[in-house]
Symmetry: C2
C-alpha cells in the first residue's frame, strides 16, 4: 500500500463534521477501495474545544487556513469555509500554488473564480474537485465530467435550490403565501435567517454557471446568468398554474443555441405535471441533462444537509486517493472558450400572464386587443369571476403562444398603462422540460 | 501528448456502429479531454463490406475476436459480441490475460463471470469497465463505483428493462392485454422476436446482480436472484392497482438485511403513484439507490438503443484514456465476500391479491375467513359486482398488511383448493420505494 493521503480540513461546521465522521466510520473500507489510507492530519476551525463527532486529537491545529493550505502536513486541502472571496479564496489559491489537491463545496468560489483556479490546478497537476458545490449529494459533476463525456450537451436544467423548492412545494400543498411559508421554513431550519441568497436565485445561479461551463466547454461565466427569484410567486399563481396543468418551480437552465451562443437563466417557471422535474418536491434537487447521443438523463436526490454534502466531499477525496486527476472543467483551461451570451431579450417561449381587469363589460375585449396590438398571441385564457377583488377587479389568467421576451416586455408596458388593468401584471415563463 | 489509445472493436452491430460514429465525430474533443487520441485500430465483425456509418478503412480486420484480443495492435478490447459464454468470454479472458483493458456492454457475461474476470483484470492492472451493461446510457455504474463511494448502500432498486416497462406502460395507457401489447412492441422493434429474456425477467436479473455486487461489496451472484417476469400481469390487475393508487412495474431490488444477508429479486410490483419510480414510463430506465449518508438518489434515462448504449461505452473508453483504473467491483476481488442469500420464503411485505369468488351470499365471508385462518391480515378489500364473469364468479381484490412470503404461499394453497374460489389467485408484491 502507498502512504496515506493526508487531508487538511478547513471549516468544521455541519459539512466539515460530516466529512470527519464519514472518513472515520468508513475508513477501513475506503482505504481498501483506494489502495491507501485517508487520514485527517490537519484541521483549521475557530473553536478547538467543541465536540465535532469524530476524533480530532491526531490532527495538527491551524488558526489560519492559508497556513494550513501551504503546510507540508497535507496532500489535499478541503475547503469548507465558504464565501466567494476572503480566506476561502486565499487558502485555495495557496494550496493550488503549492501543488496540493483541493476539494471544495464552495459554489460561490467556483462560480466566481473557477477559470482562474482551474488554471492554477492544472499548472500543478492537482485536482480541483467540487462535487458538493452543485446539488449536494447528487453525483452530477462526475456524471458531466466523466459519465456523459461522449455527448455534446445541448441543455442542462434543474431544481438547484432546496430552500426554494421546499417553499414552492409547501405553498402548493397548503395554499399559504410566500412570506408565511418562508417564515415557517426559517423556523424549521430549511431557510437561512437572511434568505435572500436562496429565494433571490443567486445560489441556484452559482450552481447553474458551473453546470453550464461543464456542459458547453466554456469558462464559468456567472455574471451572464439572468436571475429572478421566487419572492413574487403568489399562492394564486400556483393555483392557476395547477388549473392549466402546471407546477411552479425555480429552474436553472443553460441552453446552447444553434449559433453556439449560451443562454443561462434562473427564474420561476411553469413546468407541465408530466415533466420529470415537476414531481421533484420538497428540499430535493434534480438535474436534467440533454445530450446529443444519450438523450435525456435526470439525476434526483438530496441537495443539501450534512450527510449528502459530506458524501460528495468524501467521494472527491477518494477520487484523489485513487489517483484520478484531470482538468477541473473537463477541457484544459486554455482550451475553454469565453461564452458568447444570449441576451435575455432574445429569449423566446410561452408565458403565463395574470392580471386584474376592471369588472365591466368589454374589459376582456380591451385586454386581449391590447395583447394582440403588442403581437402577443393567446393560447388559452381563463377569467374567474368568483375570485374578484373589491367587486371591481377580476383576475384574468392566460397562456401565450411562443413569444419573444422583448415582445412580452413591450406588451407588459402597454398593459400596465391600460385603463382596464390594475397593478402590474404577473408574468412567469413556461418551460417544457 | 501521449501516444494514441488503440481500440479493438469486437462486434459491429447497432452499438458497435454507434461507438465508431461517436469516436469519429467527437474525436478531437475527446482527445483534448483525455490528453491523448483515441483510435480504432482493429475491428472484428462478420461482414467486411457493410457500411457501418464510420470510416473503418484504417483498422486491421480480424475474423476471430480472440486473435484480436491478443493482438499487439490494441490497448483496449471493446466487447460488443454478447452472450455469457462462447467467443465473447474467450476473447475477454484472452484480452485480460494479455494485460489489456476491457470495455463491455455484456450484462450476461458480467453477471455470470464477473468475479473471475475481475480477478484477471486486477492481476494485469487492467480496467474492466461495463457501464453500458446496466441501464444503457445512465451513468449508474460510475455513480456506484465512485460518486456514492462514501456510503454503505442499504438498497438498490430499479426499472432495469425497457421492454417490460414499455409493455406495462402501454397496457396501462391502452387497457390492452399483455399478448397484444407484446406483439405490437415486436413490430415496433421494442421487443425481440424471442422476448423471453426480457419479459421473463432474466435481463433485469443480470443487471440487478451487477448492481447488488457494487452495492454490498459481494461477488456477483446471479444464481441467487429470485426472478418472476411480467407474462402473468393482466390489464385487469393494472386497472385494479390504479384504483388502489398504484402502478405495476417490473422492479429489480437488492436489499441487505440487518444480519448482512442479501435479498435479490426481480418481479412485478405495485408501486405507489407518488414513488419516484412510478412516473418512469415507456422504455426509460431508472435506478434508485439508498445510501447511508446521502439518502435516496435516483438516476433516470434511456436504458437501451444505439446512442445511449454507445455513449456509455465511449465514457468507459475515455476513463481508460484518462488513466482511471481500479478494481472492477470497487474492492479488490480478493476482498469481496461471498453473498449470504436471503431465501425468498423469508421475504415479507404487503401483497396485492386478486381472485374470483363464487357469486353467492357468504362467499366473501368464506374467502376472508380462509385468509384469516392462514394468518393473512387484510388492509383493504374491493369487490366489483359489475365485473363478474359468466354471472357466477366475481372478482375480489385485496391488499394485505405486511405478510411473510411463506405465509402468503400457504394462504394461496388454501385458497386454490377452496370451493368458493375459482382459478389460481393472482398475487403481486407491493413495494414502497
Amino acid at each position: 500500500m502507498t502512504s496515506p493521503l493526508r487531508i487538511g480540513l478547513a471549516g468544521l461546521g455541519t459539512v466539515g463534521g460530516g466529512v470527519g465522521k464519514q472518513l472515520e466510520s468508513e475508513g477501513a473500507r475506503l482505504a481498501a477501495v483506494s489502495g491507501r489510507a485517508i487520514e485527517i492530519t490537519a484541521i483549521c476551525a475557530r473553536d478547538r474545544s467543541k465536540d465535532r463527532g469524530f476524533d480530532i486529537s491526531g490532527a495538527k491545529w491551524f488558526d489560519d487556513p492559508v497556513e494550513m493550505a501551504k503546510s507540508d502536513d497535507i496532500d489535499v486541502f478541503v475547503e469548507l469555509v465558504g464565501g466567494s472571496d476572503g480566506s476561502a479564496k486565499s487558502a485555495v489559491e495557496a494550496a493550488l500554488s503549492a501543488g496540493k489537491h483541493v476539494v471544495t463545496a464552495n459554489k460561490a468560489l467556483v462560480a466566481h473564480h473557477g477559470a482562474a483556479l482551474a488554471a492554477m490546478a492544472e499548472k500543478g497537476n492537482a485536482a480541483l474537485n467540487y462535487e458538493a458545490a452543485v446539488a449536494g449529494g447528487i453525483p452530477i459533476i462526475k456524471a458531466m465530467r466523466e459519465g456523459l463525456i461522449a455527448n455534446k450537451i445541448t441543455q442542462v436544467s434543474g431544481i438547484l435550490n432546496g430552500t426554494c423548492n421546499y417553499i414552492l412545494t409547501e405553498m402548493e400543498e397548503t395554499g399559504a403565501d410566500f412570506a408565511d411559508v418562508l417564515s415557517d421554513a426559517q423556523k424549521l431550519g430549511y431557510a437561512e435567517a437572511d434568505p435572500s441568497f436562496d429565494v433571490g436565485g443567486t445560489d441556484a445561479a452559482h450552481k447553474l454557471a458551473i453546470l453550464s461551463s461543464l456542459a458547453f466547454g466554456t469558462e464559468v461565466d456567472f455574471s451572464s446568468v439572468y436571475v429572478e427569484g421566487i419572492e413574487a410567486v403568489t399562492a394564486a399563481d400556483i393555483r392557476f398554474a395547477a388549473e392549466f396543468g402546471y407546477r411552479i418551480k425555480l429552474l436553472g437552465t443553460a441552453v446552447r443555441n444553434e449559433q453556439g451562443a449560451i443562454e443561462q437563466r434562473v427564474h420561476p417557471a411553469l413546468v407541465a405535471h408530466s415533466a420529470p422535474l415537476a414531481s421533484v418536491s420538497g428540499v430535493t434537487n434534480a438535474v436534467s441533462v440533454d445530450g446529443g447521443y444519450v438523450g435525456n438523463v435526470v439525476l434526483t436526490g438530496p441537495g443539501a444537509g450534512e450527510g449528502p454534502t459530506a458524501s460528495a466531499v468524501v467521494a472527491d477525496i477518494v477520487d484523489i486517493a485513487r489517483g484520478i486527476t484531470f482538468p477541473p472543467f473537463i477541457l484544459p483551461q486554455s482550451q475553454l472558450s469565453a461564452a458568447e451570451t444570449v441576451d435575455m431579450s432574445d429569449y423566446s417561449g410561452a408565458y403565463y400572464l395574470r392580471l386584474e381587469a376592471a369588472d365591466r363589460a368589454g374589459s376582456m375585449a380591451e385586454v386581449t386587443k391590447a395583447l394582440a396590438a403588442a403581437d402577443v398571441s393567446i393560447e388559452r385564457i381563463m377569467q374567474r369571476p368568483d375570485q374578484g377583488r373589491d367587486g371591481k377587479w377580476l383576475p384574468v389568467v392566460l397562456i401565450t403562444h411562443e413569444t419573444h421576451e422583448a415582445t412580452m416586455r413591450r406588451a407588459l408596458g402597454l398593459l400596465s398603462e391600460h385603463a382596464d388593468v390594475v397593478s402590474t401584471p404577473v408574468v412567469i415563463r413556461i418551460q417544457g422540460s
